[in-house]
């Protein structure tokens, strides 16, 4: 078990290690770059003043929430003065002159950035294979086939691999349809997607605005609460940022529930799944039943429509969100004889296949004559999916599902886009509903690969969701 943030902070306070030593330990691993989990590792000299400031605060006895904690940041968060590419060729030379809201909070709380994590291009992918900077390799190996390189999941594959390989204590990801939870599951770590509207999207390269949400990938549930305490704040500059009262997510995290908890397991999610996956649900059920938690079967009416709804709405928004990458003001520009040629060449050469596919799908479903049949219809179905979740969450406190339908697969294995999209079958419905979801490691597959389960809570109920996840985590911890 890796050290948690609270353990590291304790060691720093007790001077068992200095901020600088801690940083160097993680930096060395990040620099080795074995798994390609970083698009950019920040030079040590650029972090020296942060390291010294942090050490001073420890020396003065007033460390901040995340003081000195080395973090990885998905290369989708704009970081001032540090190249931000969204793992795309078209932004491969882009250096923002501003800091995203979320990363600014992390800096304000004393954390130190190791670098920018590799991810799928514009967060479009479930295996981190669409990155312009090459695939990320999952630090885990199939025990029956050790030489195969496996995917870490995606799109926050670099963020997940970096935490799993130990090149940062925690990392920031973004989740649009499962991009935090799915790679967390495949890399054997914790991944939290907060309720839509919790963490500001300001300064995050947009994929699908109505779904994108920032969240942490961590070694343990408590670490996720640490990061959430930092980043979960109202932001006036994001019109979809909720201004509800935020809670302290750490304060009760290790307490047991005062009231009786009921968890729903959607039986329709478990049809046609492998024993490996069924085992995860059973393990979790057994572990939590010991604590008096009740489990009931629930049935969604809309599950079968979720993926197609998602793959209309997300590309529609993406087709418009990515229009600004035209090679005119910033980013990579390709020459052309006419303005149209400049657009055509810059975008054709600047975007990879998956991004191009989704832009085309998005433009198609929004175009005259198809809008009503696709986009408008999908919006209506999204409403039904939301209502479906609401109905079930009126009956139960939480929902338990697998995070993924399978373990980590070989790089290059899932070339067909549809089978790739199916990897997000358990995470996409939650995203469409805007609900919070957390994936925690629940056990190993027959091949010795990590798998996770997902807990889904009600809107802005991250506090109890983390409490539940922490309880389950104690029972389910496994050795690497």
């Amino acid at each position: 078990m890796k050290n948690s943030i609270s353990q590291i902070k304790k060691a720093l306070i007790e001077k068992k290690i200095s901020v600088s030593e801690l940083y160097d330990e993680y930096l060395a691993k990040a620099k080795s770059g074995n798994n390609n989990s970083f698009n950019l590792v920040i030079d040590r000299e650029n972090n020296i003043s942060s390291i010294n400031d942090s050490q001073n605060r420890y020396d003065n006895g007033n460390p901040l929430l995340l003081d000195g904690i080395p973090l990885g940041i998905k290369d989708l968060f704009c970081t001032k003065g540090i190249r931000t590419t969204a793992s795309s060729k078209i932004l491969s030379n882009y250096i923002p002159n501003y800091e995203s809201f979320v990363t600014q909070q992390l800096l304000n709380d004393g954390s130190i950035f190791i670098g920018k994590n590799n991810c799928d291009e514009f967060a479009m992918g479930s295996s981190n294979e669409t990155s312009y900077f090459g695939p990320v390799i999952n630090p885990w190996k199939n025990k029956n086939s050790q030489k195969d390189n496996l995917v870490p999941g995606g799109s926050s594959g670099g963020s997940a691999a970096a935490v799993a390989e130990g090149s940062c204590v925690a990392s920031m990801g973004t989740d649009t349809g499962g991009s935090i939870r799915q790679p967390a599951s495949l890399c054997g770590i914790v991944g939290l997607k907060p309720t839509f509207g919790s963490c500001s999207r300001w300064g995050i390269v947009a994929f699908a605005s109505s779904l994108d949400q920032a969240g942490p990938l961590t070694n343990c549930v408590e670490d996720a609460a640490y990061v959430l305490n930092s980043i979960n704040k109202h932001d006036f500059n994001d019109s979809t940022s909720s201004n509800h009262q935020r809670e302290d997510y750490l304060v009760d995290i290790n307490n047991s529930f005062e009231k009786k908890i009921k968890i729903g397991i959607p039986s329709d999610y478990l049809e046609d799944v492998s024993d490996d996956i069924l085992n995860q649900i059973d393990n979790t059920k057994k572990a939590l039943s010991k604590h008096g938690i009740e489990f009931v079967d629930v049935k969604f009416k809309t599950t079968e429509y979720a993926l197609s709804t998602y793959y209309i709405l997300a590309p529609a928004e993406a087709s418009s969100n990515l229009a600004r990458y035209d090679g005119i003001r910033y980013g990579v520009r390709e020459d052309g004889e006419s303005l149209d040629d400049i657009y055509l060449n810059s975008r054709t050469k600047g975007f990879g296949d998956e991004v191009t596919r989704r832009i085309l799908i998005g433009a198609y479903v929004l175009s005259a004559g198809y809008y009503d049949a696709y986009y408008r219809q999908a919006q209506k179905v999204r409403r039904l999916i939301k209502n479906d979740f609401q109905r079930i969450l009126n009956e139960v406190d939480f929902i338990l599902t697998p995070t993924t339908p399978n373990e980590a697969f070989k790089i290059g294995d899932k070339l067909d886009p549809i089978s790739m999209y199916k990897n997000d079958i358990y995470t996409v419905p939650t995203s469409l509903a805007g609900l919070p979801g957390i994936s925690i490691p629940s056990g190993l597959s027959k091949n010795g690969l990590p798998l996770g389960v997902q807990f889904i809570g009600n809107y802005f109920e991250e506090k109890s969701l983390l409490q539940l996840a922490a309880l389950a985590e104690k029972e389910l911890s496994f050795n690497e």
Binding site: G203, S210, L322, A323, D326, S367, A368
Partner: protein, 478 residues
């Protein structure tokens, strides 16, 4: 030849709102800055930037709703209108489409001697684009993003207009109203108010023809020229056996001609959809009601007041209400003085406006001189000085050369209104005029004028003509 033809016109007017910042960013909304000076990360479409609605624009739209008799919608939605152009950094314009903030309004305009009601289908808020400049360099185009994100209210009329004059009247009424309620500066030269003209022709009484849209006209002169040219162009095509293609046209200001920019076949598919970065606008009745008192008096209210309460002639009243600053100046003078409004109005539209025009001034620039002006008008209306003397002093007062009473003394223009003194002068003037006196008494009124003139001359023009008249009559009738 065009006698049997009539034109059918609908107008899309873009009014730039007078907010201090842009529709979705905090950059200043002002004209005439250095290129790309008023541009922030949002305006330039940087990755991860998000729009935040400026509620001031909503308030201005509500005000417009009241002034143009619109239904003010509690629910409206900002959508994205997607197209590529270098002066559109986001790759889409944020606009309202399916759910505009205002719908079903109207205004009344003058049409010949009558009033005509022009129905307005909708008005919606949207962002302006930047400017592309193609004539600086043979090889490169230049982009100025200052205008990006400037708030526009697009006001879309029904095709209720049927002549260039009606279009001009409609446009100037709109301009007048928007300036009255202080939402638009009305400066057409700077592009604060622009129109797209949709025009089709038909034989009288027949069905609507195919329309063409002439884009982006920013002066009354160009609007009139473009309409007249396009009207004739369409007639010529039909008379020549052709058919009108539904085209988007540009007006060439140098030749006065319209020419096709793109045909319907190549028209954009804008792929509108609700902007997921923004929440729908949900207004409460209270929020809407709160704006009503801010609308203030509209031109028609003022016209009625001027006719009923101040007894102004309609023509004069109309000149004063034409622009809000005229009316403001007029009403300020009324409030500061006891001179009759009608008397003030006559001087305002006469000598005072003439002075403003001659000296190329803003009406507003006289706002701090109203006390001096009304002091002068008081001297005239009280017969302390003659009308003629008043005209002589006015420019000096407007130039700030002195107070009216001082100027009167300095220039020796005070009227002789001392009846004893005038009586003496009249008596002297009547000496040796027995023949003319008899003529007057015999019924010749003309002689009175002769006597008045003689007396005035004797006072070197300073005698109060009314008083001279009165005393003369008394004496002559004896």
């Amino acid at each position: 030849m065009s006698n049997n033809w009539e034109m059918v016109i609908g107008l899309e007017v873009h009014a730039q709102l007078k907010t201090s910042s842009k529709l979705f960013s905090s950059s200043p909304n002002q004209f005439g800055s250095e290129p790309n000076e008023n541009v922030n990360f949002i305006d330039s479409g940087m990755p991860g930037m998000l729009p935040v609605m400026n509620f001031g624009c909503i308030e201005m739209a509500i005000k417009t709703g009241y002034a143009l008799n619109f239904k003010i919608n509690k629910y409206s939605v900002f959508e994205r209108k997607n197209y590529f152009y270098p002066d559109l950094p986001q790759g889409y314009q944020i606009s309202q489409f399916e759910f505009p903030i205002l719908s079903e309004g109207y205004i009344n305009i003058d049409s010949g001697d009558n009033q005509k009601k022009i129905r307005i289908e909708r008005a919606h808020l949207e962002q302006d684009a930047g400017k592309s400049i193609h004539d600086i360099d043979p090889k490169y185009s230049f982009i100025d993003l200052n205008r990006v994100g400037t708030p526009l209210l697009e006001i879309v009329s029904y095709p209720d207009l049927s002549s260039a004059d009606e279009v001009i009247n409609y446009m100037s009424s709109l301009r007048q109203l928007l300036m009255y309620i202080d939402v638009c500066d009305g400066n057409m030269q700077e592009g604060s108010l622009r129109a797209d003209v949709n025009l089709s022709v038909r034989k009288k009484g027949q069905e609507l023809g195919t329309r063409c849209e002439i884009k982006n006209l920013n002066s009354f002169k160009f609007i009139k020229q473009a309409i007249e040219y396009e009207f004739q162009r369409q007639i010529n095509i039909i008379d020549g056996g052709g058919e009108i293609e539904q085209n988007t046209m540009l007006f060439d200001t140098s030749t006065g001609e319209t020419r096709a920019m793109r045909s319907k076949e190549f028209s954009h598919d804008y792929r509108y959809f609700p902007d997921p970065d923004l929440l729908p606008v949900n207004l409460s009745q209270e929020q809407i009601d709160k704006i009503k008192p801010l609308v203030g008096e509209l031109p028609q209210d003022k016209l009625n007041k001027y006719l009923d309460n101040y007894s102004l002639d309609k023509d004069i009243a109309k000149i004063i209400i034409a622009e809000k600053q005229n009316a403001n100046l007029f009403e300020k003078m009324i409030s500061e003085s006891t001179v009759k409004p009608k008397f003030i109005a006559a001087w305002l539209v006469g000598d005072i406006f003439a002075f403003i025009k001659e000296n190329n001034l803003e009406v507003n620039s006289l706002n701090d001189k109203t006390k001096d002006i009304t002091d002068l008008l008081k001297l005239i209306s009280d017969d302390v000085i003659s009308n003629k003397a008043g005209k002589e002093i006015l420019p000096k007062v407007l130039n700030g050369e002195g107070k009216p009473s001082e100027l009167v003394k300095e220039l020796g223009l005070e009227q002789v209104s001392d009846s004893g003194e005038l009586e003496k002068i009249i008596d002297e003037a009547l000496v040796g005029e027995e023949e003319n006196i008899l003529k007057f008494q015999g019924g010749s009124d003309r002689v009175l004028g002769y006597f008045v003139g003689k007396c005035l001359k004797a006072t070197k023009g300073k005698g109060n003509p009314k008083l001279i008249n009165k005393i003369l009559l008394e004496k002559l009738k004896k």
